[in-house]
Symmetry: C2
Subunit: 148 residues, 2 copies
DNA sequence: ATAATCTAGTTTCAAATGATACTAGGTTCA
DNA sequence: TGAACCTAGTATCATTTGAAACTAGATTAT
């Protein structure tokens, strides 16, 4: 017999509450310090890791919709943080990469991101962090299976 | 010296990915089976627990904005799942409660919610679940502190 | 009491999001 | 080849969300 339903104990609810709070804090910091939205920040982070990517690849790497990627790319390009070079192999797509000032910005954002994460996880042991990550990934694949 | 930043390991990102996936699955189920949005479902769940509440109280219990609560209440009321009775003490507010058919609906939704949660957590031991909940709450209060 | 202030709930507006349709360019197969 | 189909990215539209303004009722201080 399943336990009674209490919203406060219901995992999807708890997840949502926690994530929304965390996202708000992070988004607020990025916006006020660097004028970046979350989608923009994600693209910058991925481009810093790989230096080159098409929007399709960026969408896959950040799990964002292609529309969201398109908009974030346009915003970053107009601020000259990202540049698009023609893709010889496929003229529909572009190769995106960070510009010099994009890399400079990343140099500032990344340490801040890490600091925020550390403050969030202050009081968690490395083992706990690892454990949390693993559980989130298990939930993710369970949800993925349930979505068929 | 902080580790390098890799988006896939960055906790706020992982949390967001997992939560969005989980939310989509849950929201899809509620919508297609019962025609309920997440905010509506939350109100129903809380009203089932307490039987009476003002919108303000519902907002506090579900951490939702008063606008969101207002809209969800209106939708539920128009479907006659919830009724509003005048509040003698304060004529600006109403006492909301589930109607008979609201309770009947809850009788169907709750087991489904529990089943979904169980499928999500299949493979988690009770101790792991408890642990996860506790970690989420710790994150929540850390985020809360960071929001000042 | 009554003016100033405050609060529960709604309405209005603007921003964010994603589904859909569209455009331009690729691929496949007869 | 060239017709049918497919895909990268953009534009359009409807939906969701929350901030700010608003309304009606409550509270406080003089």
């Amino acid at each position: 017999m399943p336990g009674p339903l209490v919203l406060d104990k219901f995992l999807p609810y708890r997840l949502s509450i926690t994530t929304n709070l965390v996202s708000d804090v992070i988004a607020g910091a990025y916006r006020s310090l660097f004028g970046l939205s979350i989608p923009e920040w994600r693209l910058v982070a991925v481009l810093a890791e790989r230096s080159q990517a098409t929007q399709l690849e960026l969408g896959a790497a950040t799990r964002m919709d292609k529309v969201t990627v398109s908009r974030a790319s346009a915003a970053l390009t107009s601020r000259a943080l990202v540049e698009r070079t023609a893709n010889k192999d496929d003229r529909r797509s572009h190769r995106l990469s960070l510009t010099k000032s994009g890399r400079a910005l990343y140099g500032q954002v990344a340490p801040k991101a890490i600091e925020l994460e550390e403050r969030l996880l202050a009081g968690f042991s490395p083992k706990e962090v690892e454990n949390l990550q693993a559980m989130l990934m298990r939930l993710e694949s369970a949800a993925h299976r349930m979505a068929e």
